[in-house]
Subunit: 517 residues, 2 copies
């Protein structure tokens, strides 16, 4: 059980946010110390200690009996060259595991407990099993609002935090965020050029798609580089007042990235975790003012007005306690926004709006103007109610387009944007009628099966919208794919259930959400 010295060997396996150690079954340490598969071990070398899960190996090509194999994650975290000596021992459970057990038992956790858990999570001291336990335990007995506050603070404290004070001299640092779930909803790529053209600082970082067909980072990547080192990003923001970059490189909320690695496969996203995840990243990025979009609809993340109101109040409570000015917009989430779903198609929609193109999707334009207007109203010199008009003027004058081009050039314009997927399949209306519903989740799944976002030209182009009258055989949408197998799979799913509900116009019932088609 005592520490045992072995030589480090890198094992080229990507264990995705989990430190894994590989030891040969015949390694004297395994036999003497009684290590079991999946035991937690500590590895100490050169003053650094990491915790890892043990996988026992029977193949000397992977790790010889007297070496200590480290997965890519573990090797990177230890940060030492191969061949160096390291000491392996049984790991004490992370100090915060007692608090995790109390949460599983249904107790409320306080400030110190949540900070201790998030510190251990950020330091990769939790195994995947322990992360899953935390995610489920905080999902099941909903975190109360002070727990969400502490969780958010802890996530901020565990990462890097940006300060734009020198740029803005006390003025607002603005951002705009949507809780997600609506395909095609690429308003950030319009809001950022508009509000930065108004002179505001908006250092927007976005995620890549997790379970959706495209994230803002995936769509922006069609036009420009999005993976930018932190110093480069800061220089771009100083130059253009804004950016549209991928947030993953900035280490802004490392604990959140690790938690997402189990939330994604479990498809879990509780209100408390959502609030902590979003607000921690915004505050760490140095934002002082945030417009938050909560879409509601029968196939959106939030499905009723009371649920939206509860979520709004939770966001407001935590933001308020952390000094972030928050303006929540509850929006129509009954169908996808814009026409395209998938990186190339969504980038097309965005550019059409910026170019004031006659084919530009009206709903995307309107929603972007609404949100940009609300951001602009954070400007103390703008009268309440004037934001929308200012945003519209910036868009119609071409200043938003010029600003977008400046940002694209600053980040690094893509010489040759990827083409639209050349393989297509058109899905048509089975009978005449009115489009009564479009299922966001199913639409997203069809677009993903078509290859989005990894094949950027893949996705769905919508040709009919809620409330449209359609004839039998009229196209509802067109699938685009890069690979034949993807097209076949997505077509099969779409032909089984198109995600569109079509019926007599009189069947269009009010859903009580206050939106009209």
């Amino acid at each position: 059980m005592d520490g045992q010295t072995l030589h480090i060997r890198r094992v080229g396996i990507d264990t995705w946010r989990e430190n894994v150690v590989y030891l040969h079954r015949d390694c004297p340490v395994v036999r003497a110390a009684g290590f079991q598969a999946l035991a937690k071990v500590s590895v100490r070398a050169n003053g650094t200690v990491i915790q890892a899960v043990l996988n026992v190996v029977d193949d000397e090509r992977i790790v010889p009996p007297c070496d200590l194999g480290l997965s890519e994650d573990a090797f990177a975290r230890l940060g030492l060259p191969e061949g160096r000596e390291a000491v392996i021992a049984h790991a004490e459970p992370p100090a915060s595991i007692a608090a995790l057990h109390r949460k599983i038992a249904g107790e409320r956790l306080g400030h110190d407990d949540l900070h201790a858990i998030i510190r251990d999570v950020a330091a990769a001291r939790y195994s995947k099993i322990e992360l899953a336990a935390f995610v489920v335990a905080t999902q099941q007995t909903d975190l109360d609002r002070d727990e969400v506050l502490h969780l958010t603070e802890a996530m901020i404290a565990a990462g890097r935090r940006l300060d734009w004070g020198a740029q803005v001299r006390g003025g607002p640092v603005v951002d705009k965020h949507c809780i997600g779930g609506i395909p095609g909803n690429r308003t950030s790529m319009l809001v950022v050029p508009i509000v930065t053209a108004h002179g505001m600082l908006c250092p927007k970082t976005s995620s890549r798609a997790i379970t959706s067909p495209a994230g803002t980072a995936d769509t922006m990547e069609v036009l420009a580089q999005v993976e930018l080192p932190f110093d480069r990003l800061a220089a771009i923001v100083r130059e253009t007042s804004g950016c549209l970059a991928w947030g993953g490189t900035a280490d802004l909320s490392p604990a959140d990235d690790i938690l997402i690695s189990v939330e994604r496969p479990l498809a879990l996203d509780s209100p408390g975790q959502m609030v902590a995840s979003i607000l921690s990243k915004k505050i760490a990025a140095g934002s002082t003012h945030l417009v938050l979009d909560i879409p509601i609809g029968p196939s959106a993340k939030v499905r009723s007005m009371p649920a939206a109101q509860r979520l709004k109040k939770l966001f407001e409570y935590v933001a308020g306690r952390l000094g972030l000015q928050l303006d929540v917009v509850i929006s129509d989430g009954r169908q996808p926004i814009g026409r395209g779903i998938g990186p190339v198609l969504e980038a097309r929609d965005v550019m059409q709006v910026l170019q004031n193109h006659p084919d530009a999707p009206h709903d995307l334009r309107q929603k972007a103007l609404l949100l940009a207007g609300r951001v602009i109203e954070f400007d103390p010199d703008v009268r309440g109610g004037d934001g929308w008009r200012i945003a519209r003027d910036i868009l119609e004058s071409g200043r938003a387009l010029a600003q977008m081009n400046a940002i694209i050039d600053a980040q690094g314009r893509r010489a040759e944007p990827p083409p639209l997927g050349a393989l297509t399949h058109t899905v048509t209306a089975p009978a005449a009628g009115t489009v009564l519903a479009i299922d966001n989740q199913r639409m997203a799944r069809i677009a993903r099966l078509a290859g989005a976002p990894l094949a950027p030209g893949a996705g769905v182009d919508l040709l009919a919208r809620l409330g449209d009258a359609v004839q039998a055989g009229q196209p509802l949408y067109r699938l685009h794919a890069q690979f034949a197998a993807d097209l076949a799979f997505a077509s099969a799913l779409a032909d089984q259930d198109s995600a569109y509900r079509i019926g007599p116009a009189e069947a269009a019932t009010s859903d009580g959400l206050g939106f009209t088609a």
Copy 2:
């Protein structure tokens, strides 16, 4: 996204009840199909389909770009030779994941849901993350008694079930089980010889230590072989009416084995999971009558009489609905049972009791007679109250010893039992006084650090018991170890806190459990 054909390659990594697939990052499938690390994939070959978690690999020595690497678990489950073709595709989530989400949301699950979950668990279609989610979700909102019933039934249905009808011709098939948590509590190795000497059928299978310093299987292994193929086991039971074997080879409750692989690292053991785990294995093993030991004490698994009563009623409800005759004994769990803790030391205690040796630990003997007596009273020809006397007669006459030797010989006597650990360290009383408390959990931890159970001769030999008067410097217990490092580590822990509380005799307060020292 379509299926892609690759050649199977065995990757010698023991992923411990989780199917893992290793694909090289440059494999065309990874690029085309957009597989992400930790994605669930399905592998189809020769009519068999398995689900697995994907690890992306950067080293061709582990898996070349066009091969499909399978961890030991996945390779065994697919059951095909290397080089065969297999088709890999994105996995649909297991059908029962929707039910898991409902449980996470706090709903009660019905018969069909729990059967579906356990079928998917037993078929290894759950990842470790999904298993952890199930374990935590059923831990947190305690399962109601009908959910526990369905869970137990489902676990039985997922495995093999034994039938001893031909042997017993309608007579009872008996067993005895303890919920665990008390070091040294090796009564099974006494109860089985006594009750089988009485003529009852007792095909006892036991576990190895999970978090304790020794399980019955580990201790029996000091004397005889315990890993027996199923047919051999059946023959031994036919010959000697009993056995003391490891249950892991018999596939009696495969879902339970898989759930334990995450319960153990999480140190979770809820009442519902405990009842389902224990009763499913007993019923699958063909038992018709069971004596169940629930020890209570301040450092036992169950710490109060009301908690013990609640657990008893839950066991009784589920056993009753499944037609298992159950007799629950609530016992004194305030300190370890017997003197030795660790396989060799516990085997010594057991053999001393069987040999009616003057040094035999009195408490172990008394507890074994109590439990054996209760089992014997399942015999319809035995008057209520006569069991204890019959058990004592069998023990004192040497018939229990003869029967134990018959079982040992039938299973395969170990020619040379492992020796007691030669390295020792004695822990002494810091001051004169009375032993007021012994902490079971800490004592177990010290014995494990000394090397038990993997070093069978390691452990703790207790030299003072609850209520004993001790002098300053008088030995409380002796550590035995096989390796110097183990001894040093265990000694350090013991010297820090011996697990003994010593004070004035008058400080011995009643703990309200009704036991006297």
